[in-house]
């Protein structure tokens, strides 16, 4: 019987080269010491990168002042207290955020759900590890849709477009009332590029979209090249109804825009107020970045 123990044991016979290349940091003090150097370099280069982008973003912020969304680049030492169950005390005090997105004060959000009218991949009828997924039907509506397992399941071979991708597409609904009284959606890791503002008539949504990038220094001590992780973000919001929908992922911007423009959105009949949420900050590049 092939089970996890057999698999774990079989891994012991993996090619020495694979073990060796992954073991390069293991137990060597001199290599442990090396770990701090690239991280320090990364912090420095990241600061330079951020400084370069801040100037561009400040201009964007001025333009954004007439828009339902409000964006700003916070000072490096501005602290955001994020509810974080894994942290000591249950909160994480985060500094050096890259972008703050705020919304109009909303007493009560009318909650919505959505259905993708177009996706860049065919959805499988069934998922072996995700019962009770039964494919997408006319009755399938979502509050959250994540595609990392959907778009690879039951495909004979991964399409080339998904190579090196962790999260091709994620769509999630938020209530604007969650962010009252100074709350916001934050980018913690990625640096946003140029921000575009639009209005989608079909969804009656104000839209904010941009690319987020995160640069990783090379880690030659274990063979990792310098690389840049890139994500697309399309934020739809309706201030009158008080909902926000984030469409994000590593697919290109044109693809995500097409997904966003083809979303069907309907009210669930439920409402949410500020008090319904323990956390009034959310970061939208965690878990996908």
């Amino acid at each position: 019987m092939l089970d996890q123990n057999t698999l774990f044991d079989a891994l012991a016979d993996a090619d020495d080269a694979y073990i060796q290349s992954a073991a390069s940091l293991l137990g060597y003090e001199k290599e442990d010491n090396m770990r701090s150097v690239p991280f320090a370099r990364r912090r420095l280069s990241r600061a330079v990168l951020i400084a370069a982008v801040i100037a561009a973003l400040l201009a964007v912020t001025v333009m954004a002042s007439f828009f339902a969304f409000s964006t700003r680049v916070p000072a490096a030492d501005e602290t955001f207290r994020i509810h974080w169950s894994d942290a000591e005390g249950g909160y994480l005090d985060w500094k050096n955020a890259k972008l703050v997105v705020s919304f109009p004060e909303t007493a009560e959000s009318n909650e919505v759900e959505f259905r993708p009218g177009w996706l860049p991949f065919a959805l499988p009828e069934k998922l072996p590890l995700s019962d009770p997924w039964q494919g997408l039907t006319d009755e399938t509506w979502f509050r959250r849709f994540t595609a990392e397992s959907l778009c690879w399941a039951e495909l004979e071979d991964d399409p080339a477009v998904y190579e090196d991708i962790s999260q091709p597409l994620e769509i999630e609904v938020y209530a604007m009332s969650q962010f009252n009284d100074g709350g916001a959606m934050l980018m913690l890791y990625q640096t946003p590029g140029e921000i575009t503002e639009e209005h989608y008539d079909a969804q009656d949504a104000d839209v904010l979209r941009f690319r987020g990038t995160q640069r990783f220094e090379a880690r030659p001590e274990f063979g990792l090249p310098e690389r840049t992780s890139e994500y697309s973000y399309v934020l739809l919001s309706n201030a009158r109804e008080g909902w926000v929908i984030a469409v994000r992922g590593q697919l290109d911007m044109d693809t995500l825009v097409k997904v966003a423009k083809n979303l069907e959105i309907r009210p669930t009949g439920e409402t949410a107020t500020y008090d319904d949420f323990e956390n009034h900050f959310l970061f939208f590049d965690g878990g996908v970045g």
Binding site: D9, D15, D16, S166, S229
Partner: protein, 185 residues
Amino acid sequence: MTDNEIIDLFFERSEQAIDELAAAHGTAVRRVALNILGDLRDAEECVNDTWLGVWNAIPPERPSPLRTYVCTIARNLAAKRYHADRAKKRESRYDLVLDELAECVGGGDSAEDQTAARELAGAIDRFLGGLEYTDRFLFMRRYWFADSLQESAEMAGMTYGAVSVRLHRIREKLRKQLIKEGLLE
């Protein structure tokens, strides 16, 4: 002292070989054992068993690279020791690693009752060979060395969330490959 010089000491049956081996690779071996067993005292006994195993194997073997060889012995001994003591509370990182690997084989039956270990190892090698470097690094750190997600994330310069999502995807790939190769239905 170089690995070759340590091995020479083993061939000379000098007990200094153990001291030199421990000095060169003891931290690595201890870490593998502790990752799997989750208990310092158990890990220390496993390390001592590893030195004994190496003493019995060299000569005639002359392993290269030596560190991979001793870590493999430690990993196998630690897993064996853990299974022999299954009554203990599930608190080791090894449990988490096994739970995650179960996703690769869960919901399916093996094509044969007794899958040949060599066939499976070959399939895993082909799978690893087809992975992009970062994916292979993360997979090996998690499922060979039983590192925590946070440790792996720090080493790779990635976020915890990114590593978690990426490992999920890699497990899906492994599952598909095992099915494709007829090792899992």
